[in-house]
Every structure is written in structure tokens, then in C-alpha cells.
């Protein structure tokens, strides 16, 4: 069986987020003045084969931790509701 998951990789709190800062600075010049705390991270969608969802999810967790993120600077989260 195949399962599709989405993983979000975000910078740890406290680290500078240049991309978020750049977007935040651009917003007011485009007329949006009430937006703040902008953070930019990565979104990874992948499809894995596995006997059941639990096993597949465990594999995705491991991939997220070991390949998709660097725990020194990033957190990851596997989305609760994988897309169909």
C-alpha cells in the first residue's frame, strides 16, 4: 500500500529567519500593514510504500529527522492529515 505524507521543516525558534524577515518587510509596501511573525520553511511531500499507515508514518518520521532536517537548526512536523 502507498501513503502520501507532507512534512514541514521550520527553523528553530531564536534563530534568525532572513527569508521570513524579507517577506515581512515587503508586506507593508504592498499595502498589508497588519502582518507579523512571518517565517519561511520547507514543505516536502512524499509517497511511501508500507504495510500500514503506522509503519509508513514511522518511516517518514525517520526520513524527516535524518535527511529532510538538521536538528541543529530545524524542527520538523509530519502533517496530521496527509492529502489524499
Amino acid at each position: 500500500m502507498t501513503f502520501t505524507f507532507e512534512v514541514l521543516v521550520t527553523l528553530k525558534a531564536g534563530l534568525a529567519d532572513p527569508a521570513g524577515k524579507a517577506v515581512e518587510a515587503a508586506l507593508p509596501t504592498m499595502g498589508w500593514t497588519t502582518v507579523h511573525d512571518v517565517h519561511v520553511g520547507k514543505h516536502i511531500k512524499l509517497t511511501v510504500e508500507g504495510p500500514d499507515e503506522t509503519a509508513a508514518r514511522a518511516q517518514v518520521e525517520e526520513i524527516a529527522q535524518r535527511l529532510l532536517s538538521n536538528p541543529v537548526i530545524e524542527n520538523y512536523r509530519v502533517l496530521d492529515q496527509p492529502e489524499a
Binding site: 527553523l11 531564536g14 534568525a16 529567519d17 532572513p18 537548526i73
Partner: protein
């Protein structure tokens, strides 16, 4: 990171900050009382190995630093050299090995950012970057991940700030697996009379300290005291990772704003924020001015709420600068910063006396003599001890090992070894042309960069000789200086001065301290003999894990000068029909060489001798011959010996050669691969041969005609009969084969 007041009996707060018990006593004696928590953190950062140079200071003092052209020697953010026409060249090298080992992209990127700010703080525009690297073997997946991340980080930052990366080097060795060496050198140009030095800018009582650039966050706290001043094993245990995220866009704005401020003449001082953050910048600026300062932490723009005083004081958030500004100029300074979209706030004021007083929410959280942080830290003469058996005596010297394998096959092994092969996979990922002054980038022995508004060219090279250093740290260091000078001289440039980065293991181990002292001795001797004073540098200790250190590797960054950049000499054979000469003499010296490691599987023996007189004579000859426009090409002999030098000249220029390694009474493989110093391969028009011989004779440099350039073939009589295309395929193919997934 736990606040410093929370300690345990076994690990009192000062030890958690990396301070020894006697250092703590010294603080108590200085203050006449127990330090407050913020004060302790300040001393912890400023008296760290990284900031205080406490283990290296006594040795660094022995380096030659004087020279007619030297405008600024060691001690300031970067050294500066007068190149005439009213132009000063500012240059410096630094390491970011420790953070790169745990987060290669950001570690390397922020290293570039840091060295660039050192150059800006001298009032110079950064015009070139070079990136000397050492990694573990690429057969290991982790080393490939580290290298890819580091190269991407250097490019990601350097490419985004508009400073060309024009050179560097990379070597591979197992001891650098756990601790890759990531150094970066930046070169800047300033009007000599506008250099921002402690002599040219005078700060006054009542002047403001203006912090401009990025806001301050909790990142990088403990960067100097923990990450860079302890081994990876110690620092990774429990302590918070001290890696930061680089923002090259903010750095580009800092460059432009800072140079505009210098141009405007509104500053009384300029300082970058690096290790130890605000504490270091404020205390150094005050101590330099011979004053104290009142620092108000509430004025510091913070990225996060709830930051403790010690965090604000020691945060190493990137892309920040500190300007000393006369109150009358404050508006002008803030206008420039606003134009570039940067925050600029007064955080401190210079006051008479020498005390640095720090307040936070109306309370005094620190009150210490500024000089006690910057100039009165501990200084150690740590025990040193040569290893029982001198490593160069270990094993039989490969020079005399029996050898009966195929010599052409050996040649291709050496040519395709990662140490020798083309580094295009790396340097093609760097913007080497932005600013429009790059006459020669990677692929040339030294990069050549024009000085705008003049005919001058700067020749820039970096060299480290880790493998020689592992066998004999004196020789490794001396060779690094000699090779860097030679690399500059083959372009026709006169070597002027050096900067350096000293990459070593744990200085608390006597063997490492011995390596260090030997390396300093080698560098001092070489620099004196070659007339290239040391204008600055950086020391990176604690590059070790599990008790095993990196190879002791001083990396030299050499600055050379071409009076007319159009006279620069090419590295590759530019056409056929030229006479090929060897300058210098080949001896039986395979010890510590590339052939010995790759073909014989031996890292051992005695590295080649360095004779400074011979080196100086060769350099003088190269410069003189280039000045008379005699040389069609010139390439030095280094890793892999003359066989590799010939091959590289052919590949680079696209023209073949047919030569005989005559006049040497050496076994063929020794003649091919010996790494004797003070040699170069040059090509000359027939009409210039006589004059070149005359000049060589006058300088006492041995000279031998080896053959001619031309055609598609690459022939070394009796040893190699191949084609330039075949050579190129091996040379260019080696790194991609290891690094690119099939």
C-alpha cells in the same frame, strides 16, 4: 543554555562558561569582589581561547610583522598593505570549522559573513574571497554531505553579497573527517588615507556607540567560549548549539551602508560584531579609545522577548556593526542606515575612566574595567612536547622504497587523486566575476584581481601543507609560505605580505602545543627569508575529537602585486611551438608526497627540504622574467611533482607537450613525482630562451630545457605518452565521479 548562576558543586557556573578556576580567581582579584552573572559571562566569552589567544599569544609575538609596505599589522580587525597609487589592500583569513562540522551550510556561510565584516570595519570594500578547505575522504557519505553543504554555504553567502570568490584550495585526509577545516580569506580595497584604523579615527568622550544592522537574538550564545574553544565531544554534550543563520542580504546592505558612512567621514570608529558579540565590540572600542563606556542593554533591538542581560551581551547574532559617532553626526549616520533599510540605535556612550558599566532595566548588571576584558586576560605558556618518535622517522622513507609498477598508470592515479584533480566541481559554484575585475580566477596558480582606477593587479593565493605538517610541522608551515609565494610569483607578481589561519588540535595537549610552536617557527623563518611579513591571522584550536586531532595545518594567504595586470603570466601553455623549461632542481624527495600516499599508500618519510635562498632566487627570477615579458606561461611544481605540473599546464592551456626529464640522475618515478620545492615549469618563445637563461644564471637558479609545447599529445619521454584530452578527462572527471550521484 542554562543561565550562569545555576551551577552545581561539581560544575560551578564559571566552568560551564569555559573558565578555569584560576581564571575565576583572577576575575575576583580584578573586581575586588565576586562577579555578577552577566560579568561572568562577559569574561567567559572574552577570555575564551578564541577571543583572547591565551595559548597562542606568546608565539604569535615572534612572527615578523614589519615591512615597508605594511600600513596595519596584526592586532586590528585586518592587516593592510600599501600598494601605491594611494591604495591600501586589507586582507585577513579566519576559520569557521567548528560550526561547519555540525551545520555545514550555515557554518560556512556565516564564516564568510564574519570575515567580510572584518574587512568592512577597516573601511575597505571587499573585492575578493578565497576558501581554503580540508575534508575527510570523499568515499565517506558524511564527508560528501559536509563538503556539499560547505561549498553551497560559501557560495550561497558570497554569491549573494557581490564579492567574487576567486580561489582557494582543498585537500582530503582522514584526520579531517570529524573536524573539517573551513577557512575563508577576504581581501578589500580602500583609499589609503581613508582606512578606518585606531590611529586614523579618534573617539571622544561623550561619543555614541551606534549598533546598526540586524537585531540581536538568542543565537550563537557561547559560540566562542564553548563551540570554538572546546573539542566537539565536549561542546556537543548538552550545551545549546551555537550555530547561526546567515543573512547575506543584510550583509550586502551593511557593506554599502558602512562604506557610505566612511565616505561621509562621519565616524570616529568602526567595529564588526563577531565572537563575543556586543561585549567584545563595546569593550574593545572603549579600551582602544582609552576610555570606559556606559552601555544600555534596553536600547539593543532584540529579536525575541525576555532575553537575559548575559544573552544580549554575548549573543553572536550575525550582520551587526558598531560605529563610534560624534553626537553631532548622529542624524547623518542614521540617515544613511535608513536609506539602506538598517536599524541604527545608540546603545552606549564613551565615558572617562576605564569602566564599562552595563545597565538593564535600570539596574547595573556589570561594572568592569574595559581593558580587563580585552587586554588583561590570561596568557599561557602551555607545556609542549615532541612526540616520542618523530613522525617523519616512522616507516621507511618512500623515496627509497622499491617501485616497479607501471609509471603511466601511477601518473593517472596521481592526476585523478582528489587532492590533485580539478576543483571545478567546487569553484564553478562560486561567482568569480562579479565586480568585473577578475583577470584570473580559479585555475590560475594565483587569482589576479584588478585594482580599479589603476593598472595594478593583486595576486592572491592560499596554501596549507597539512600532510607535510603531520610529518614535520616546521617544514609543513615553511612550505606553505614558500608555495604561496611561488604561486603568486608564477603569475609575475611580487609577494608582499601574508595573513594566515592556524588550524590545530587541543592546545592543552603538549604534543599539539609542540606542533604549534614548530609551525610558528617555520612560518617566521619563511616569512623573514622571503620578505613577506605577517599582517594578521586567526587561530583555530580544539579541532579534534576522541583524542585525535586534525593535521597541524597553518594555511597561508599570500598577497602579491603586479605593477601592470596586463603583464600577468598564464598558468597553461597558450600555444604550440614554445620551449618548455624547468626552473629549479629536482631532488630525491618523495616523503610526504602525493605519489607516496596515492600509489605507495604511505604517508611518511621526510617532507622535501625548504631552502629559502633557493626559493627567494626562483621568485625573483620569475618576477624579473615576467617583467621583461619573457614568459608565455609559468606554473609551479607542487603536489605530484613536475609530471603533474606539466599535465596541468597542458590541460589549462589546451596544448600538448613533448619533454624529456633530462639532467637528473634519479629513478624515473622519483624524477616524475618528487615534490622538491623551489621549482616551476615555464614556456617561452624561442626568441626569449637566451635571455631567460641569462637571468637564471645571474640568479643562480638551475635551468633545464625539457622540450616543446604543441599538438594534441602529452609525452614525457619513456614514461608517458598520452593526449591532452585523455589527461583532461581524468583530471576533470575525478571529483564529479565521487560527488555527483550517477
Amino acid at each position: 543554555m542554562t543561565p550562569p548562576e545555576v551551577g552545581t558543586a561539581a560544575s560551578p557556573p564559571h566552568r560551564q562558561l569555559g573558565l578555569q578556576d584560576d581564571e575565576y580567581e583572577r576575575i575576583v582579584a580584578t573586581l575586588g569582589r565576586e562577579p555578577m552573572p552577566a560579568e561572568l559571562a562577559m569574561y567567559g566569552a572574552m577570555w575564551s581561547e578564541h577571543c583572547s589567544y591565551k595559548s597562542s599569544k606568546i608565539y604569535l609575538k615572534t612572527l615578523p610583522t614589519e615591512g615597508a609596505a605594511v600600513l596595519v599589522g596584526p592586532g586590528q580587525d585586518a592587516g593592510a598593505v600599501d600598494v601605491g597609487d594611494g591604495v591600501a589592500v586589507v586582507f585577513k583569513m579566519e576559520s569557521h570549522s567548528h560550526p561547519s562540522a555540525i551545520e555545514p551550510y550555515q557554518g560556512a556561510a556565516t564564516g564568510v559573513g564574519g570575515i567580510v565584516r572584518d574587512i568592512i570595519s577597516m573601511g575597505a570594500r571587499p573585492v575578493a574571497l578565497l576558501d581554503p578547505l580540508m575534508f575527510g575522504p570523499l568515499t565517506d557519505a558524511r564527508n560528501r554531505w559536509l563538503l556539499d553543504g560547505v561549498v553551497a554555504g560559501i557560495g550561497g553567502y558570497g554569491n549573494c553579497i557581490g564579492v567574487p570568490t576567486v580561489g582557494g584550495e582543498i585537500h582530503f585526509a582522514e584526520p579531517h573527517s570529524a573536524n573539517p577545516t573551513v577557512d575563508v580569506m577576504c581581501v578589500g580595497i580602500a583609499q589609503a588615507d581613508k582606512l578606518a584604523t585606531s590611529a586614523s579615527l579618534v573617539a571622544h568622550e561623550g561619543s555614541f556607540m551606534v549598533l546598526y544592522g540586524a537585531s540581536t537574538g538568542r543565537d550563537g550564545i557561547g559560540g566562542v567560549s564553548v563551540l570554538a574553544s572546546a573539542t566537539l565531544d565536549e561542546s556537543s554534550q548538552g550545551s545549546r548549539p551555537a550555530v547561526q543563520i546567515g543573512d547575506p542580504f543584510a550583509e550586502k546592505l551593511l557593506i554599502e551602508a558602512s562604506l557610505e558612512l566612511i565616505e561621509q567621514g562621519s565616524l570616529e570608529g568602526l567595529q564588526d560584531l563577531g565572537g563575543a558579540g556586543i561585549t567584545c565590540a563595546v569593550s574593545e572600542s572603549a579600551a582602544r579609545a582609552g576610555m570606559g563606556a556606559r552601555l544600555n542593554l534596553d536600547a539593543v533591538p532584540l529579536r525575541q522577548s525576555g532575553m537575559e542581560p548575559f544573552e544580549i551581551l554575548t549573543s553572536e547574532s550575525q550582520e551587526r556593526m558598531l560605529a563610534i559617532v560624534n553626537p553631532a553626526q548622529l542624524t547623518a549616520v542614521q540617515e544613511v542606515c535608513t536609506k539602506w533599510g538598517l536599524d541604527a540605535v545608540v546603545i552606549a556612550e564613551l565615558v572617562p575612566g576605564g569602566m564599562l558599566t552595563v545597565t538593564h532595566r535600570g539596574e547595573v548588571v556589570a561594572d568592569v574595567p574595559a581593558r580587563s576584558l580585552t587586554d588583561e586576560g590570561p596568557e599561557y605558556d602551555r607545556p609542549r612536547e615532541a612526540p616520542g618518535t618523530h613522525p617523519s622517522a616512522v616507516g621507511d622513507d618512500p623515496t627509497f622504497a622499491a617501485f616497479d609498477a607501471d609509471i603511466a598508470a601511477s601518473f593517472f592515479s596521481v592526476l585523478g587523486s582528489p587532492n590533485v584533480a580539478s576543483k571545478r566541481w567546487i569553484h564553478q559554484r562560486y561567482d568569480s566575476v562579479v565586480q568585473g575585475q577578475t583577470v584570473a580566477g580559479a585555475g590560475s596558480d594565483a587569482a589576479v584581481v584588478r585594482v580599479p582606477g589603476t593598472m595594478k593587479g593583486l595576486a592572491l593565493a592560499t596554501d596549507g601543507k597539512g600532510r607535510y605538517g603531520s610529518l614535520d610541522p616546521y617544514l609543513g608551515s615553511a612550505h606553505a609560505v614558500a608555495e604561496a609565494a611561488r604561486n603568486v610569483a608564477v603569475t609575475g607578481a611580487t609577494p608582499l605580505a601574508i595573513t594566515n589561519c592556524l588550524n590545530f588540535g587541543n592546545p592543552e595537549r603538549p604534543e599539539v602545543m609542540w606542533q604549534f610552536s614548530e609551525a610558528i617557527r617555520g612560518m617566521a623563518d619563511a616569512c623573514k627569508a622571503l620578505g613577506t611579513p605577517v599582517t594578521g591571522g586567526n587561530v583555530s584550536f580544539y579541532n579534534e575529537s576522541g583524542g585525535s586531532a586534525i593535521w597541524p595545518t597553518p594555511v597561508i594567504g599570500m598577497l602579491g602585486l603586479l605593477a601592470d595586470y596586463r603583464m600577468r603570466v598564464l598558468t597553461g601553455f597558450p600555444r604550440g611551438g614554445l620551449a618548455v623549461y624547468q626552473l629549479g632542481e629536482t631532488f630525491a624527495e618523495l616523503g610526504g608526497g602525493e605519489f607516496a600516499e596515492v600509489v605507495l599508500g604511505v604517508v611518511g618519510g621526510k617532507p622535501p627540504a625548504v631552502e629559502f635562498d633557493r626559493e627567494a632566487a626562483l621568485i625573483a627570477l620569475l618576477v624579473e622574467a615576467a617583467g621583461e615579458d619573457l614568459l608565455a606561461s609559468a606554473h609551479d611544481c607542487s603536489d605530484g611533482g613536475i609530471a603533474i605540473a606539466l599535465a596541468e599546464a597542458a590541460i589549462e592551456g589546451g596544448h600538448g607537450f613533448a619533454v624529456t626529464l633530462t639532467g637528473v640522475d634519479l629513478p624515473p618515478h622519483v624524477a616524475m613525482f618528487s615534490e622538491s620545492a623551489s621549482r616551476a615549469v615555464v614556456s617561452v618563445e624561442t626568441a626569449n630562451e637566451l635571455r631567460l637563461r641569462e637571468l637564471a644564471a645571474a640568479r643562480g637558479v638551475p635551468i633545464a630545457r625539457l622540450g616543446e609545447t604543441g599538438g594534441p599529445r602529452a609525452v614525457i619521454e619513456g614514461m608517458l605518452d598520452s593526449t591532452v584530452d585523455e589527461l583532461r578527462a581524468v583530471y576533470e572527471g575525478a571529483l564529479p565521479a565521487l560527488l555527483d550521484p550517477a
